[in-house]
């Protein structure tokens, strides 16, 4: 009834190929943006920012990054944690070397540096595929973590190997360091996420994205019709690492404030983000959001429910929480192998026909 193409007349090519061709979708998108930018910043407090929204936003950026590489271009990567570490350490070195420059620029630059590193580690993808590539990126993960542990220059020779984000501002507002307000943290991450999501969405709808998908679906056929595997795979690695680098920089500078490479950017992080992408849905920007929301919010929710509400002992709750999250992942993957994004797609199909399904 509301959700339909009919009656929404497109009179230009521009309108015809817009991101959300259905009017309802368009308004929903504007409504989400309005709530995210217009309402949440005014009501958010420290707990909501630090435990829920900021991690959700940052993991969404990382999931979008990995989704471009794995979901759109079909290159399996287990090096996400390592690339996030590159972003974090690049951001740290830039922040301490050029204290007067806005952190916004540093975060973007950190993404750029990560893109370079990503291309370097993407080179093997031209020769090896599938599981073998996963192993190569796994090597990147371990090498990068080892590097940031081993070379003191990266952590400015601090006694403990920890990197700590100094106070930095954007337009006069603190966004890193302890004086940051919940609103500033949230808005900074939200702006980054919005930029990343819009760029990612449009890239995947254009030539670049179509090339990625051609390579994913069948690389030999893609090569025959004129897709250059070298540039296509490397652009996928570049764009993906750029986003993941931004996520890593934000994760360290805005969210944690201090980090230690083995703990914050270990192999668990790579798996966590891969799970987000798989649960959310490969090859879907919405899926990246859904997967990040699922794996960030569900544990927090369960913890509050079991410990806060039901008063269970913390250790029992923590164990049950792992079992519930793990169980739900299994159930989801059996019931809907294409992830949460597929559920959303099905829901939209149903909505188109509603209330007359025949």
């Amino acid at each position: 009834m509301f959700y339909r193409e009919a009656g929404d007349f497109k009179t230009s090519y521009r309108e015809d190929s817009q991101t959300f061709p259905i009017k309802f979708d368009r308004y929903r998108y504007y409504a989400v943006l309005a709530v995210a930018f217009g309402i949440i910043p005014f009501v958010i407090n420290d707990y909501w920012a630090n435990a829920v929204f900021v991690p959700f936003l940052i993991y969404s950026i990382a999931a979008i990054g990995l989704n471009i590489l794995t979901g759109y271009a079909g290159q399996v990567s287990l090096g996400t944690g390592g690339f996030m570490a590159v972003g974090a350490y690049a951001c740290y070195k830039l922040m301490t070397a050029f204290p007067d420059i806005s952190i916004f620029i540093h975060v973007i630059l950190a993404g750029g540096i990560t893109a370079g590193v990503g291309v370097l580690f993407g080179l093997p993808s031209l020769r090896i595929k599938g599981f073998y590539l996963a192993v190569a990126t796994l090597a990147a993960q371990f090498f990068l973590v080892w590097l940031f542990n081993k070379v003191p220059w990266f952590y400015n020779y601090s006694a403990s190997g920890q990197i700590t984000a100094p106070d930095r501002t954007v337009l006069g507002y603190f966004v890193t360091g302890a004086q940051t307000t919940a609103t500033a943290k949230y808005l900074f991450c939200l702006v980054m996420l919005t930029l990343v999501a819009v760029v990612a969405r449009n890239l995947t709808r254009g030539t670049v994205g179509r090339k990625w998908m051609a390579i994913r679906d069948m690389d030999i056929a893609a090569e025959i019709i004129g897709v250059n595997p070298l540039t296509t795979k490397l652009t996928a690695f570049m764009v993906s690492s750029f986003f993941i680098g931004i996520a890593g920089a934000l994760f360290f500078a805005v969210y944690l404030g201090a980090a230690e490479v083995g703990e914050a950017f270990g192999i668990q992080k790579s798996f966590l983000i891969l799970f987000m992408v798989i649960i959310g849905g490969l090859g879907s920007i919405f899926g990246s959001f859904a997967g990040a929301a699922f794996l960030v919010l569900l544990p927090v929710f369960l913890k509050n429910l079991l410990v806060g509400q039901l008063g269970w002992p913390t250790d029992l709750a923590a164990h049950i929480e792992l079992m519930i999250v793990g169980g739900l992942i299994v159930v989801f993957l059996i019931a809907e192998p294409h992830g949460l994004a597929q559920l959303w797609r099905l829901a939209k199909e149903k909505l188109r026909l509603w209330p007359f399904p025949h």
Partner: protein, 427 residues
Amino acid sequence: MKKTFTAIVAAAMTAAAPAMADLVIPNLSYRTGPFAAGGIPYADGFNDYFTLLNERDGGIGGEKVQVPECETAYNTEKGVECYEATKGNGALVYNPLSTGITYQLIPKVSADGISLYTPGYGRTSAANGKVFEWVFNYPANYWDGASVAIKHLLDLNGGSLEGKKIALLYHNSAYGKEPIRTLQELSKKHGYALTEIPVDSPGQEQKSQWLQIRRDKPDYVLFWGWGVMNQVAVQEAANIRFPMENFIGIWWSGSENDVLPAGDGANGYKSLAMHGTGMDYPVYEDLKKYVIDAGKAAGAGDQVGSVLYSRGMYAAMVIAEAARKAQELAGTSAINAAQMRDGFEALEITEERMAELGLPNFGQPFAASCEDHGGPGAALIQQWDASAKKWNLITGFIAPDDEVLTPLILEDSQAYAKEAGISERCN
């Protein structure tokens, strides 16, 4: 999907807030994950001591103590979440039992005005109260521990370590890296050769490290491990027949859990200790009467009297004494976080006071001041007797080498002050 979640989380949150009137001392504990073997006894000791105060004395100065527990799994992200979840309820002090989480919380507590008490762990240079207003780490820190271990080795070698080889086997994290700088400085002074051997977290796999030790044949191995890493290291040392009396752990690597799995092989293993241990203290009579027999013990109740239980209890005792001091200074029993900090800074624990509390000769007496948040830093050496299944103290309190440590602490804390833009206090 997200909206339904957030709505339910909101409902859960509002219901979880406790009453504001009591003294709130959150316990960021970890009873799960690879470090639970250390986290469980510590959390039990911490909780039980406050339960004892509540049951026996009706709290501290007539105010009941609430100890809301929050599970961190030794993970910094969960630590941040726990901190944010509990700080709004009038939390007075945090004791996260994790060096990684401590690093994270130092800027946050300084901005929020809540004390952070990290006995025997955390950031060593927080001992400089001129820079770290809200952080306290008395009675001893890692650099003290490193220095005490070296002093013990000096005693064993007639005052000279010239030409000796010492290996540091450490958890590859902020915690394990803390002593490196001190040991390097001390090696310049005493002329030993230092090898650093990192073990990646959680440390279940140490074959290659022990192979290296077997090849290099160091005279002594110093050990900075935690959780499951400890048991593995002691077992591996026994496997390669490393002489156990030359293997010395920090106080976090010296509990019963760490040596029992290796059986007789662990006999003679040494570790540092910053307090006594065992059940031979009068406080346990009260603890048994008011807490354990009353069925109010935290956790499974099977950890009472162990080394880390004693440490949790010790931390709780210091916090309780600081709260008492704060009440005395503020003239009110319902203290706030800022008054609590004053209590920490003015705290003096004397031998008499510890005897009154039922813990005679348990820890070293110390007094804090505006400049000194680190305490005297002395430590004992204990040795494991595998046949009796008991830790025996083999030395008295050994004082650290302040001549080397003080400049290091000054240097590191000033570097932090410069980075964070803090001006020194207490002038």
